[in-house]
Subunit: 101 residues, 2 copies
């Protein structure tokens, strides 16, 4: 896994007189593919960890879910991503429940 | 941004006789928080790039969306994440359309 390449500068086209070139579009598409790889890997790792924690909590007599923590995560994603945030957070939380959810 | 710490080993508890300790749970929760940061940053960057590309494509007389590419992304997320994959991909695609969607 390579670190996030924070050095990719996105030139925002201002309109039809200033389009991105085909080469630029190709470069950005490759960057999107790379980011999708980062997202998928992080989502898988997150799910794996969350399932292990939930399994332990149940094993020690607790609940599988901790409601307050789930609400905090949903709120964080709303704050950072807007209206799509809660839906994304809900998917992550469901993935973290595994087969039990 | 730090690189993904691939060195976090998750010890999977086998059942009630082998629970994760509180310290382990705390460590894993911190790792989940770190992964959520990675996910949020990558999603924001992806959205920014996708919006720039869509703007250019429209500016040069093309369509804002490329249907085949969207289908390929949805299929990739299904292959890697299962049933929750398409929903997650759809959110990413909507975020990449920005205000225009």
């Amino acid at each position: 896994m390579t670190p996030m390449s924070e050095d990719v500068e996105i030139r925002m086209p201002s309109g039809t007189d200033d389009p991105l070139s085909d080469a630029e579009i190709q470069k950005y598409r490759e960057e999107i593919n790379r980011l999708d790889r980062v997202i998928l890997d992080a989502v898988k790792k997150r799910s794996e960890i969350s399932r292990a924690v939930g399994r332990t909590r149940m094993g020690s007599g607790g609940t599988r879910l901790v409601h307050n923590r789930e609400v905090a995560i949903i709120n964080q994603f709303r704050d950072e991503l807007g209206d799509e945030g809660p839906g994304l957070a809900s998917i992550l939380l469901r993935l973290g429940r595994g087969r039990l959810g």
